[in-house]
């Protein structure tokens, strides 16, 4: 069990009774709106007025469902080469198992879009960077493929492209020799009217609605309200990364 898993498990144990109490109180899960409070010209530069993030409700994430992963692969043209150890993976399903009780939790794990991203700290060329609106990206024009960022990431969120690629998507350039990871579907966010990331869209389409996307800085967004109302947590909070992706009911 890695340190991250252990931390999560400890947290989970501490919370077990609290969660049971909440469940007994019958806190009804409200209808989860996926809002995109967003209207900007595609020609405007992004600013720090927004910070995009997600809240992932592990209770709603269905074990065995892979819709978010499939949607991500389709959206970004990610195809395997029959080598699971090195094939690119922008989002993956992880199952946490509490040893004491056997309780299993299923959740999607991807780039956590940290406010203090270790990948950016270690990048020797400045290719790893955090956009003004909080999205952590790789500028593949300056990525030299050294993979320091992959080692630095506590979430193993990044992949390296080992093979020549073809038939890339126009909106998602990918190529051999560069590192890549979840970009929060930045091409969708940058559209004039904005669209939510492919994983969140697929999850809602499947009826699970476990992934809520929104603006962390806008107090009226559904996301910000849920973060106030619900007991949510970030992964590896001990590292002080202030992640943009938050989890609930782990």
């Amino acid at each position: 069990m890695s340190a991250a898993d252990k931390s999560l498990a400890d947290r989970s144990r501490r919370r077990f009774l609290a969660r049971a109490g909440v469940a007994a109180a019958g806190l009804a899960a409200g209808v989860r709106f996926i809002d995109f409070p967003h209207a900007n010209a595609a020609s405007d530069p992004v600013t720090g007025a927004r910070r995009w993030g997600m809240l992932i409700d592990a209770d709603k994430c269905a074990t065995g469902c892979n819709a978010c992963v499939t949607a991500c692969n389709d959206e970004h043209g990610i195809r395997g080469h029959g080598r699971p150890e090195t094939d690119a993976q922008w989002i993956r399903k992880v199952t946490l198992r509490e040893k004491a009780t056997g309780r299993e939790t299923s959740l999607p794990l991807m780039c956590q879009h940290c406010e203090n991203p270790p990948c950016v700290d270690v990048c020797p060329t400045g290719a790893s960077f955090r956009r003004a609106d909080g999205i952590v990206l790789v500028d593949k024009h300056s990525c030299i493929g050294c993979r320091y960022c992959m080692l630095a990431c506590p979430f193993k969120a990044r992949s390296f492209v080992h093979e020549n690629l073809s038939d890339q998507k126009s909106w998602s350039p990918r190529g051999k020799g560069t590192v890549e990871s979840c970009n929060l579907c930045v091409h969708r966010i940058d559209e004039a009217n904005g669209r939510i990331p492919a994983c969140a869209e697929a999850c809602a389409r499947e009826g699970h609605k476990a992934i809520l996307f929104g603006d962390l800085k806008n107090p009226t967004s559904t996301l910000a309200k849920e973060l106030v109302d619900d007991d949510t947590q970030e992964l590896r909070a001990d590292l002080g990364l202030n992640t943009g992706i938050r989890y609930e009911d782990l």
């Binding site: 024009h141 890339q168 126009s170 909106w171 560069t178 940058d190």
Partner: protein, 153 residues
């Protein structure tokens, strides 16, 4: 005297140009034959400006797009491909870096390698690739894995 030499030089240049143009017309290889844009009347800049400076436009805009999130500005690589990818007989788009196509023909002539298409799409969004990859992008025929037999270590 200098002026005279100059005018001789100009005359020679004109003669040479017309000779190379004639060679290109006859299917020679002295000048690149650039396919016309598949759609649109005019480029985002005059042709001579684009020929000289397109790489600077692209590099400037890519930084604004990747770091600043600015989309839809006029010097976009996707925009180039949308107009300049030819359609084959079946209506499928031909990659702009395939032999004799818009980008490849000039770059082969100039001896300048294009790195853009190691990552970027070579056909407009939603259009099928109709021909094979250019040879420099194809995977090597002998892979490292296949040259090592199991148990050789």
């Amino acid at each position: 005297m200098i002026r005279r030499l100059h005018s001789v030089g100009v005359l020679l240049g004109v003669l040479l140009l017309s000779a190379t143009a004639a060679a290109a017309d006859e299917g020679g290889t002295l000048l690149p034959v650039i396919p016309p844009a598949a759609k649109g009347e005019a480029c985002v800049e005059p042709t001579d400006v684009m020929r000289r400076d397109h790489m600077h436009f692209l590099m400037h805009q890519r930084d604004e797009t990747v770091h600043g999130g600015i989309r839809g500005a006029k010097h976009s690589l996707v925009g180039c491909i949308d107009c300049h990818a030819q359609l084959d007989a079946q209506g499928a788009a031909v990659p702009v870096n395939a032999k004799g196509q818009f980008c490849e023909s000039c770059h082969r002539f100039a001896g300048a390698r294009m790195d853009c298409f190691e990552c970027h799409a070579t056909v407009p969004a939603g259009k099928q690739t109709s021909t094979a990859l250019p040879d420099w992008m194809s995977p090597p025929t002998v892979s490292i894995a296949s040259t090592r037999s199991p148990g050789a270590d």
